[in-house]
C-alpha cells in the first residue's frame, strides 16, 4: 500500500521532470495547487499526457498492480481528476484504496 504523501511525491516528480524539459521562460511552479487542465493550466495537452503517463506508470510500480488514469471511469468523474494536482491525488488515492 502506498500513502497519499508517496503519490503526491510521484505527481510532483512527474511535473518536475516536465519542468526540466521546458525552456526557462515556460517553467512553472509545481505544487499541490498547480492547475493541470483548464483555462488556468500552464501545461499544454501533450505535456499533460506525459505527466499522466509518468504518474500512472510510477504509481502502478509502487503499488504492485496496474491502475488506469485514462479509462472511461476517469474521464467521466464529476470532478475531473485532471483539474489540478490535488484532484489528481484524490482520484489516485480512491483507486489505491480499492480492492485489487
Amino acid at each position: 500500500m502506498i500513502e497519499s504523501k508517496d503519490v503526491l511525491e510521484i505527481i510532483l516528480r512527474a511535473l518536475q521532470n516536465l519542468n526540466d524539459e521546458l525552456p526557462d521562460d515556460e517553467k512553472f511552479e509545481a505544487g499541490p495547487t498547480t492547475p493541470l487542465f483548464g483555462p488556468n493550466a500552464t501545461l499544454d495537452s501533450l505535456a499533460l499526457v506525459s505527466v499522466i503517463v509518468d504518474v500512472e506508470g510510477d504509481v502502478s510500480t509502487a503499488l504492485g498492480r496496474s491502475i488506469s488514469l485514462t479509462d472511461d471511469r476517469a474521464m467521466s468523474q464529476e470532478i475531473s481528476p485532471f483539474d489540478d494536482v490535488q484532484t489528481l491525488l484524490n482520484y489516485i488515492m480512491t483507486l489505491v484504496n480499492e480492492s485489487p
Binding site: 501533450l46 506525459s50 503517463v53 509518468d54 506508470g57 496496474s66
Partner: protein, 240 residues
Amino acid sequence: MMSEDLYAGKVVLVTGSRRGVGKAIAEHFLKNGADKVIGFARGAGSIDHPNYHHFEVDVGDTESVIMSFAALKQVTDSIQIVVNNAAVLTSQYSMIMPPAAAQAMVNVNLLGPFLVSREAAKMMRKRKWGRIINIGSMAASLEPIGDSMYAACKAGLSTLANVMAKEFASMNVTCNTLGINAIESDMLAQLPRDKIDAIIAGLPVPRMSKEDDILNVIDFFAAERSSQITAQTVFLGGVN
C-alpha cells in the same frame, strides 16, 4: 556487410515473430547485436537465441497486450524499436466476406499496432528515443479486389503512424510504415497465385520482395541518422 553490433544497446519488439517476415526481422536484429528482442505472437516461440524473449500475445486483444507489457517489464524496462508486423488476411469479395474475418483484420492489423505502439511509446518516453515501424502492404495503394478490409487496414496503418509521428516527435520517437509487396510466406500461400503474379508483373520492379529488401528499409527507419525521417510510407517495388 553490416556491423554485428549495429543494434547493440537496443531492445526491440517485433510482433508476429513466430514465422515469415516477422521471424526474419527478429532474427535480423538478433544477428546484428540487439541486447534483447521481444517477440509477440499468438503461438509458441520459434526462435532459439539467448537474447530472444517470447510472449504469447493476441495483439488484437486489449487485455492480452496490456498484460503482456506488464509481464515484459520483468525482462526489460525499456524498448527502443518496435516493428508492428503481425497481420491476418482473408481475401474475399466484400459481399461474402464473413464479418468475423473482417473484424479479426481490424483487430490484429489496426487495433494491434495502435495498442502495441501506445504501450511501447510510454516506455520510449523515458529515454527520449524510439523507432516505431509498421509493416504495411502494397494493397493499401493498389487496392486489389477481394482485399477491401485488408487494404483499408493497411492504409489506416500509415495514417496511424503519421498521427503518432506528430504526437511522439517531442520524445524523439519516429513512426513510419514500410509497404511491402508479395514475399513467399504462409500468408501469400492463401492467395491465388495467378492473381499475385499478375499484380507483380504490373509493378515497375516486377519481382517479388526478398527478405533483404524489407530489412534494408527497416535498417533505414531504425538508424540513428534517420531522426528526421518520420510520418513516411515507403513502398517496395515501385508501388506509390
